[in-house]
Symmetry: C2
Subunit: 203 residues, 2 copies
Amino acid sequence: MAPDDTHLIEHRTGGQTLLSGGFLEVRRDTVRLPDGSSATREYIQHPGAVAVVPILDDGRLVMVRQYRYPIAKVLLEFPAGKRDPGETTLACAMRELAEETGYTAREWAYGGRIHNAAAYTTESIWIWFARGLVAGAKRPDVGEFVETVLLDEASLEALDVADDLPDVKTVIGLRWLQMGLDGRRPLGWRSAEEAREPVMAAP
Amino acid sequence: MAPDDTHLIEHRTGGQTLLSGGFLEVRRDTVRLPDGSSATREYIQHPGAVAVVPILDDGRLVMVRQYRYPIAKVLLEFPAGKRDPGETTLACAMRELAEETGYTAREWAYGGRIHNAAAYTTESIWIWFARGLVAGAKRPDVGEFVETVLLDEASLEALDVADDLPDVKTVIGLRWLQMGLDGRRPLGWRSAEEAREPVMAAP
């Protein structure tokens, strides 16, 4: 999977910011295509996000229901949010879990990294797993209305089978959870303290 | 999963187009939050996209490798693309499969619908499965450089296990393929002609 990709790669030749200062930052770059011709690429500059699969001692998962205005639907999702500047993905995971659900976790395992719209955003979503959960008070952002729900893995799978679990980070978190449980994709659990060490907290 | 969600739902009170005419269309709406306060929501207006999981008679999958400029990586993906105006998701699936890989398919099965960035895009991705594949000539869009690769399901799973399959529609297509094979999420195969009937071609 590491061939010579010069026949595919595009090179930046210039660019400008089209939109900035609000919620979305949009850029338009000019690029040189593999055949030497030119094209433009418009995309969202995104700081990256983190999602957390929080597993209670009884196996249920701590999830959130949230209205997603662009699609006009309430989605069932694993807790998630954007990285703050300079924040490691683990620090972001700990913060978002606490803010959205109130839970803190004694143990953490890194799941993996996904790209959710590589055609037009720089966003990565890093997925972390959390267990040894301790309940606390939620601290949602101003203007954020989030409901906590507890669901077991079988119920979540039933929603996926019914085509009623459309959020991508949530489907993939469920997949990796199940692959961890059946041994196909083992999770490396560490205490919160160990996980915070730089070598683990990266990326 | 259908409770009263008035405590979560946001209502549009106004809006404007921030960016239009290029590749991305960006809108900013004002909304009334569940507590009566106001907020703004910026998002990409997207026509929706389709991904295809094309299964050869020997079980290998027809995939594409493509440079994704915003993340500066070549991604391994199932063939996919944006819907043209008025196009059904099945017609889009047939078109994108033929354009990007040259293959046509005798049978089709609808997989499901995902939302890949519901915080800031209206995009849905509908996933279709295709089999009874017949090879033909690729017809990539101008400025599109796409390489076709054939991989079996075990190799794809190995990439996912190694955290080297980051494209979300591809991971979820693989999940649904495997759940179809093991009976957890059966696929309803139909001939291309039957599948084209309006009731099936929808959404």
